[in-house]
Symmetry: D2
């Protein structure tokens, strides 16, 4: 096996040179202000070795990456009943599309597009107060990452609340189909808050270990989900984790991954490693431009593609 | 590792008992006549061990599974230029949908939906006579399978030609966007013929070995594609190989696979095995019902999911 | 010319016998409670003769018929600039569809589908307080009808506010495209309130006279809009006034008309008469079932179709 | 009433000055070659007075205007059964869109979009030979126009046959839904031929008289359709006669009309006149640019809008 640490440092170095870093998300000031020069990477191997580089200790807004954690939690609460609320197919549409939702009567295609994640958040709430359930989400992430300093960036959450019209539209649309149990404002409030969790690459890589190791975090020995469920979450990440850029990500990188508009990507090399990259500039499908390139290099050099050596 | 032969025989046995076997494709008489009781499976491991069961030696119409072979051929001819003619994203629509094609100006979403495979066939033809290129496709499949008796079922091809209005519509639609170089009838004629290739599970499993082993058939030692290209074809099979049931297949089986309306599925366990199953009854997305169930059992018992143990 | 009064009474009588009266709108209790047995009709001819029958003096919720009045007002305020905010084409989709809005970047197809009327309401508000602009709308309707007792049913408005998720979704969607200047809650609040105006057939027929007579109410002599604008509003009513049942209404009735889910229809026979009918049961496109039948009979017997005798 | 002849000559004169004449249809050479400078107009009033100007005696390809005549014929043959094959609603989509057809299982929205006219042509054929039914269509047009010299431009028809991929796609798509009784090539062959009828404005205006006068040609005294059917065809022309520019045409012109990509428009002022205009340059929706402007001026000056004076 190639030397992980060496590969990670090389990649961090190579990434500095890139001119075309994509466009930073601009719909809220908190994201628009982030310097596109940032690039961070952290990889934690099966044996616990952690290789990291660049801005790997700077917290960023994980945004849609939180959908992996809320899906895990909701499956724990509702089990396979969750799949009556949300599908398991790639949508073929942008992350915030509402078209499919109208054509398919309010059942979002998968839990990783916005509408689907809003439905998942509703399942987590299931009648409880947003504050308590949001606390549970945050506790889950902290435990998975083994780090109690992880926090929700309240400025980001408030900005989203003020201007997240598209997501509010999606939630009201779901509600109009009878597909939300909780009040719309509770659901979107909780949704905006878990999207506003801030993490470093290092924290995120640790938090994703359970997906790389059959549902069990080898650091803590704690079983988070069953092996089958971990595989299935990985499968969803592969087919749906990058919106309408999911096929491209699978084609180029060959690892399950979930991106966020904050520029982070959590990727999983099953049995091998959990990986977090971060670079705020996005490509046209809304996924981190340098993040994907870095993961492509990493998967290739480490021979980690799930599709063959 | 579990005993492959034992697992394969168990599965073949279990499949006999299934009552609900889906619905056999009925749009042409040649497919409609096939007995839904058929079930075949063949698995060839990295070391060449072949385990097979059920109707594994009865030829069936591979239909859309041929798209894997034509994609491989077209990539050999056109290289990455192919991707100007067809995309790499799941479509989120049924296999024969024309909607996306209109919205995206005649560039099909991927090479595994009908419109995409028609575009790929056009690339293979590139001005040559259908007869010669069809010969090349057949030769390719025979070589991959190491079996010169593989044939095109002319009855099936003629039936498709007479009644394949939807595919003829797709081809004319592509042509109207300037996205076919060859005459429409040449393209659909060639397309209908390569879909009409008949193979047994045993032949199909052998033919797929290059995808399981970094582009090289370990039986012949012959390199068919580069390792990178093999990985990428596998990635496309995973995200797009089962139409709008691709997410479900990834979720349940966890292997790259390509289905055909004849009831066959070619699946790949990278580094481990090439697998062919066949059962003519289809589920609602047009994929073999028992075929998928058998693959789910196989992947689970052999621990072959690409998404983790 | 046939005897208008006789024709109107005959129709009112015939309508009593109908068994299949469609389904009363059920999405808010205030509408669901209305007795489907109600049928009212009022016709006011060019010379001021008013013929009325059935429940012509019972107030009903005019709902989307208010869109005719708000369009008239908004054109008065913004003139042809209004057409940068909303189109003039039939949508081919249900009244509350959001699909077209996504595909066309937040410019609703016409002012008579919900999204379009919400955009028109935003133009009316243009920075002012909802209360004052709502007052203006109500004043406009009262003046047109010459009746100061016309009121807004606050129960209906509050019910819509509580459960009108689909309209709230549309408004947020428009806002996300930057296509609403005012706060979402101001726009939908005003929208829900003008939809909750209650009128009798008699009042409504009088209020529509300016559309039948080149923009001028012959009763008051007051010019409400120019002749050209009146013609154009009539044209929009004809092509878009009944959602995706507009073609059918033009085909059968042959008069410009605007329906509301309260079961009312305002129709215009240019140069001849202004007509209001009301029957709460709706057909599948959400238009008054008996209302349309009554108008079909009326237009035929009075030879009022705009498409020829 | 204003002096018709004077108005027509003024308009013909004014049209000469226009610089921006739109773009001539370019998809077949026969249409692409037509000089955009052409402008013709012919108006025939109820009393038989004919006022004409410009290139009113130069034949042009009527293209989709033929759909009015084939609809009339098909209604004569099939009566209201026709409406099981085609709808009566504006489509909200371009003339050659296939999207709606897939979503609505092969029932075109109306008889004036291409798919709808192809379905209507199939009804006319109903098992007979294309040659005989095409003869009937031509005879119908000649009789309506009272002119036996009207002909089909075989060059245009052959060009369409060679390159009309989109229409061939639509026909095959209809066939795939079981919505064509006749062989695809018979239907599209007949369709391409009736679209290739060549007429002058003068001939076309005469041919449209039955629509302006309750189904009866006042010149010949011959009843072509019932008064009700004439009204209904007019209604369809108004709501659907200009594809996704139908709302705009109703808004600006206020007359039922049907356009063709050859640059012709047949318009009807019920009870007043039948009108034909021709100018080959098209606007973005594929309708004659100057044709519409001329009709707008004519309707305004003659006070012929069906929506009021």
């Amino acid at each position: 096996m190639p030397d992980l640490e060496k590969v990670v440092h090389e990649i961090a170095e190579e990434m500095r040179a890139y001119e075309d870093r994509g466009r930073v998300a601009s719909y809220i000031p908190e994201l628009a202000r982030v310097d596109p020069k940032n690039f961070g990477i952290a990889v934690i191997a099966a044996d616990g070795t952690l290789a990291a580089g660049g801005d790997c200790d700077r917290p960023f807004s994980i945004q849609s990456i939180s959908k992996v954690f809320t899906l895990t939690l909701a499956l724990g609460k509702a089990g396979d009943r969750l799949w009556t609320r949300v599908g398991r197919e790639p949508s073929g549409n942008p992350f915030n599309s509402i078209i499919q939702l109208e054509l398919e009567n309010g059942v979002p295609r998968n839990p990783f597009i916005n509408a689907g994640a809003i439905a998942v958040t509703d399942v987590i709430l299931s009648g409880h107060a947003p504050r308590s359930e949001l606390g549970e989400i945050l506790r889950f992430v902290r435990e998975a990452a083994g780090d109690d300093t992880i926090y929700i960036d309240e400025h980001v959450a408030q900005s989203e609340k003020r201007t997240g019209y598209r997501n509010i539209a999606l939630a009201n649309f779901l509600k109009s189909f009878g597909m939300l149990e909780n009040p719309v404002e509770n659901v979107v409030g909780t949704y905006f808050h878990h999207c506003a969790i801030a993490m470093t690459c290092r924290q995120l890589a640790v938090a994703g270990r359970y997906l790389a190791h059959s549902g069990r975090n080898p650091g803590t020995g704690y079983n988070i989900v069953s092996a089958e469920r971990a595989r299935r979450i990985n499968a969803l990440m592969l087919t749906c984790g990058h919106y309408d850029g999911s096929g491209e990500f699978a084609f180029r990188v060959g690892l399950p991954g979930k991106s966020g508009v904050g520029g982070g990507i959590l990727a999983v090399a099953p049995g091998q490693a959990s990986i977090a990259v971060w670079s705020p500039g996005l490509d046209e499908a809304g996924n981190s431009k340098l993040g994907r390139i870095a993961l492509e290099k990493l998967a290739q050099r480490m021979k980690w593609s799930i599709f063959g050596e």
